[in-house]
């Protein structure tokens, strides 16, 4: 399809996942060969690490990827353990086969994962952390009180799995296989558009919304998966412990899972896996420290948060230590635009009529009319506080005005739903670039194309063909977009290593991923050099000539007058003037009030 994709080696570098492949193979070989030691003490420690990892792998998507602070996730372990144990022991109806009971434990975890997780949609971080804590307390209390099923305080025996995973090395392999499965599944999600969307929600939520990512749906799926893995881990835990009581499920354990993920590194799979293994084994080999272990974990967490927010994964990310070329130039290739954009047929328009919006007592916009037509660059200028960005935010669905209508091609465009804009092919950039700093430039751009994926969550989880095709298409499109804006040489670089001007062009590339019919740019020239502004102007002009309607909010009068087809001047939320650049240039009021020339 393209020459660019062929020349630039495209690799998935989701925090060095490819580099990590070798580590996974080594870890797997060690795990497979461990029984040769014939030391079942090591076996028990390893089983514990695998079981904890099954839970942490799921929690990693919640905490590490989506950034939701679920500190009480031990409740999933409790639920899974009791469900599996109670069903297998026949405390509820007839005795279930242990493997079926384990599946039921996973199911229970999935159901409650969603119930506990979904408040994250409505609650602020700290509040959500508190509700997960509250829930884990409730679960323990119910386990104590519901004597018939849980055995109350005396507890209940854990399930014993029959052949082929009978206690001993059989069970060891069972835990190993499930841990490997959990790794594979979560790594697939992590490197899919779902994983990128989660990280986008974590680090750049408004950009995620503008890219059409629907948080509610995505979170439901993630909490379902994380809960199920937690439940399965619980069933295995009950079997390893041979007997469970409510006291076994401590807050310290929850803290251990949680800290392992953060020490490992947010947005990584390998890092948290290594950290889980280390934290599980450490107290066994450092006996004098046992009493201080929780203190040390906490100290480690504090050090990580303050000093290495990227965790182990960052330390393993050697590729991004290589120095970048210093005097880099951004040279957009406008001739590639025809491949990046779909030509818009006929005349289309976004029309605002009589829009008014108040913030408290301040009138941010006051009866504004505006029309953005395809194939034209529409400039929006005005002094600070005149309502430019607010207007853009109304169009992209972040604000609901008090009065007025907003229409796309004659049909109402709903207010207050930013995530529906992407499907209408309305793209935007932000005044301060919104990016995922820890992800590569390529991945940041791919986030923009999330709505073009076809594979379902399950397909992505199992890495089925449709998912692979999605990834290939998205990656090629992203490379195209990067080549178009002139950043393809930086595709593999972590986004937070880019210069400010490069981030502006990266945001445009991300917006182009929607193959937009309308593109809204919020001060794209801020912080750019004169030469860069000129190239930006050429790029914007070329984009509009492909039939895209562009709304340009800008302070640089030169840029506006160079490339705009029409200009609207705002003052105090009202339209001061509108017309062609030439008309505006000679508008008396504008000249005296704003241009000052």
């Amino acid at each position: 399809m393209t020459d660019i994709a062929a020349t630039a080696p495209v690799r998935t570098s989701w925090l060095g996942r490819l580099e990590g492949k070798l580590s996974w193979i080594l870890l797997g070989l060690v795990g497979l060969a461990l029984p040769l030691l014939d030391d079942s003490y090591i076996g028990v420690i390893a089983q514990r690490a695998y079981i904890y990892w099954v839970l942490s792998a799921g929690l990693n998507l919640v905490v590490g990827y989506a950034g939701q602070i679920a500190i009480g996730w031990v409740s999933m372990l409790t639920l899974g353990a009791y469900t599996t144990a109670a069903l297998a022991a026949g405390r509820v109806g007839p005795e279930w086969h242990p493997y079926l009971a384990l599946a039921a434990g996973g199911l229970m975890g999935a159901v409650f994962g969603v119930i506990v997780g979904l408040p994250a949609l409505r609650l602020r971080t700290f509040y959500f952390a508190m509700t997960t804590l509250a829930f884990s307390t409730i679960v323990t209390q119910v386990a104590l009180a519901w004597k018939d099923v849980t055995g109350g305080g005396v507890g209940t025996p854990g399930p014993v799995f029959p052949w082929p995973f009978e206690p001993g090395w059989g069970f060891y392999y069972f835990c190993f296989i499930l841990a490997a499965l959990a790794t594979w599944v979560t790594a697939n999600i992590g490197s899919s558009r779902y994983g990128r969307a989660l990280v986008a929600i974590r680090d750049a939520e408004v950009a995620a919304e503008a890219s059409g990512i629907v948080k509610a749906r995505l979170f439901t799926l993630i909490f379902l998966l994380a809960g199920a893995l937690g439940g399965v881990a619980g069933g295995l835990f009950a079997s390893l412990q041979s007997y469970i009581t409510p006291e076994a499920f401590t807050f310290e354990m929850s803290v251990l899972f949680f800290i392992a993920i953060l020490i490992g590194g947010r947005g990584s799979i390998l890092g948290p896996a290594l950290a889980t293994i280390i934290l599980t084994a450490l107290p066994e080999f450092a006996a004098p420290l046992v009493q201080w272990s929780t203190f040390l974990y906490a100290a480690l967490l504090l050090a990580i948060v303050l000093l290495v927010p990227g965790g182990i994964a960052d330390m393993l990310d050697f590729k991004n230590r290589r120095p970048l070329t210093l005097h880099r130039e951004i040279v957009p290739r406008t001739e590639l635009l025809s491949r990046v954009l779909d030509r818009t047929d006929g005349r289309r328009a976004i029309v605002l009529r009589d829009i008014s919006l108040h913030f408290g007592g301040v009138r941010a916009i006051d009866g504004l009319d505006l029309e953005i037509r395809s194939g034209e660059v529409h400039g929006l200028i005005g002094p600070n506080g005149s309502g430019k960005t607010t207007t853009l935010n109304v169009i992209s669905g972040y604000y609901t005005p008090k009065t007025g209508t907003l229409q796309l091609d004659g049909a109402d465009l709903p207010f207050d739903q930013p995530q529906v804009r992407a499907n209408r092919r309305i793209a935007r950039t932000f005044q301060t670039p919104r990016l995922v700093g820890a992800a590569s430039v390529l991945e940041n751009v791919m986030i923009g194309g999330t709505v073009h994926g076809h594979a379902s969550f399950t397909e992505a989880m199992l890495s089925l063909p449709r998912h692979k095709r999605d990834e290939r298409v998205l990656r090629e499109a992203a490379m195209q977009a990067l080549a178009t804006v002139g950043l393809e040489s930086l595709a593999e670089v972590r986004a937070d290593r880019l210069q400010h001007s490069e981030l502006r062009f990266m945001e445009i590339a991300r917006a182009l991923m929607l193959r937009p019919a309308f593109l809204m740019l919020d001060e794209p020239a801020a912080g750019l050099s004169a030469e860069e502004i000129r190239r930006l102007g050429d790029l914007i002009k070329a984009i509009s000539r492909e039939g895209v309607g562009v709304l340009l909010v800008e302070h640089h009068a030169d840029l506006i007058f160079d490339i705009c087809d029409r200009v609207t001047v705002l003052n105090l939320g009202k339209m001061l003037a509108a017309g062609t650049p030439n008309e505006i240039r000679s508008h008396r009021e504008v000249v005296s009030a704003y241009l000052g020339a």
Binding site: D38, D39, R48, G153, E247, A248, P283, E284, P288, V290
Partner: protein, 398 residues
């Protein structure tokens, strides 16, 4: 003193012993020490029991080794601190049975850890002695190699119920527990027992131990006509609140229950010393003063402790005695039967009849691995604490 926290890694990679095969005596030279695993909770919450018991166990191991050891071989206790955490206990069992190849295990000392550890120790076919009270921990069919050195929860409850109903002759009883596993299960077991004896349980509840206010509880007990309060909890704060509230209400009702009622921590939390009057806690006949004197075996033991300058006034005599008995039982069995697991179990099954421990008299049979006699569970007056022991409660025939 040959107690080690942890020995170095002993190579076992060459061995062909699989996980589930029985553990025969390790093939080592006759002069090597015989290893026994020991699983106390030495740190973390509720570690005071473990610290007390460990004092007795350490002393016994010392005495055994100074007087020639086990037929010339040293007895080595390999200690792993369980921290009152079942997951730590599970790891420790794997280390002791598989890597250290211990001949037998003494412990865990707490029921929470023992519930998880016992099936695993049974699976590895290692003989096990423990002093935990939970009834289900002894099951001749499921755990044929596990034996108990102490009373069961049922016996403990029976002792308290017997004292309230038969000795004090009180018919209306209030039973209250905290919301922990131990508390709820104890209360739920003892209430039916009381009813079966013919007592009237006028009030029963599980209360959050963190709840600062127990006055509503006591008022309801009082209005229900309770003549005795039976609290089941190991939480000193909770128990002291009951006693303080009783004192503040000026209610002269006897309190009969768990051993923690008589602990130093409970005492420290009392508003005034009188709140400890008319409080009777579980204890063991062999370790109680009767008419100001300890029974002969315990008296002799205390003399020995004093001679060896072993401090025990800051802990409880029955803890130290229990630790001593556990190690002594191990040593005696190893001397007589050798370190082979089946031989040890055969000895316990057939040869332990009326074994004269300091803490209790133990009798086991192939059908009954609970060795503690009912009549040795008594109540004591908690305010009579002297040198780690209590007066037996009034009313018992001596």
């Amino acid at each position: 003193m040959s107690i080690k926290r942890r020995t170095v890694l002993t190579g076992s990679a060459a061995g062909v012993v699989s996980l589930t095969s029985s553990l025969a005596a390790p093939a080592i030279a006759q002069s090597d020490p015989i290893r026994v695993g020991y699983l106390p909770a030495l740190t973390g919450p509720s570690s005071s029991t473990g610290v007390g018991i460990t004092r007795g166990t350490e002393l016994a191991v010392d005495v055994i080794n100074k007087s020639g050891g086990i037929n010339g071989r040293k007895l080595e206790m390999i200690v792993r601190d369980t921290q009152s955490d079942p997951t730590k206990a599970v790891n420790a069992v794997a280390e002791l049975t598989q890597r250290q190849k211990v001949a037998a295990i003494w412990g865990p000392l707490n029921s929470g850890e023992a519930l998880a550890a016992t099936p695993l120790i049974a699976r590895d076919k290692v003989p096990m002695l423990h002093p935990c009270w939970v009834d289900s921990l002894i099951d001749v069919k499921k755990y044929p190699m596990a034996f108990r050195m102490a009373p069961t929860n049922t016996q403990v409850g029976k002792g308290a119920n017997h004292y309230v109903f038969n000795v004090l002759k009180l018919k209306k009883v209030a039973v209250v527990s905290d919301t922990t596993g131990y508390g709820t299960s104890s209360a739920n077991t003892y209430v039916p027992m009381l009813k079966a004896m013919g007592a009237e349980v006028v009030y029963t509840n599980h209360v959050d131990a963190a709840n600062p206010d127990l006055k509503p509880e006591l008022l309801r007990m009082q209005s229900a006509g309770a003549q005795a309060i039976m609290p089941w909890s190991v939480n000193a704060g909770f128990l002291s609140r009951i006693l303080n509230t009783r004192g503040a209400m000026g209610w002269d009702v006897p309190v009969v229950g768990q051993t923690t009622l008589g602990s130093g921590q409970t005492k420290a939390l009392l508003d005034k010393p009188e709140n400890w009057n008319k409080v009777y806690s579980n204890n063991f006949r062999n370790c109680c003063y009767v008419n100001g004197k300890l029974p002969p075996r315990a008296a002799e033991y205390v003399e020995r402790l004093k001679k060896d300058k072993i401090e025990f006034a800051d802990t409880l005599l029955w803890w130290v005695a229990l630790g001593w008995d556990g190690a002594m039982m191990m040593a005696e069995t190893l001397k007589a039967a050798g370190p082979k697991n089946t031989d040890m179990v055969a000895y316990w099954n057939n040869k332990v009849k009326g074994w004269p421990g300091i803490y209790g008299t133990v009798t086991w049979t192939p059908e009954e691995h609970n060795g503690f006699p009912d009549e040795d569970v008594v109540m004591c007056e908690v305010n009579s604490l002297k040198d780690g022991a209590f007066n037996i409660a009034p009313g018992y025939s001596s």
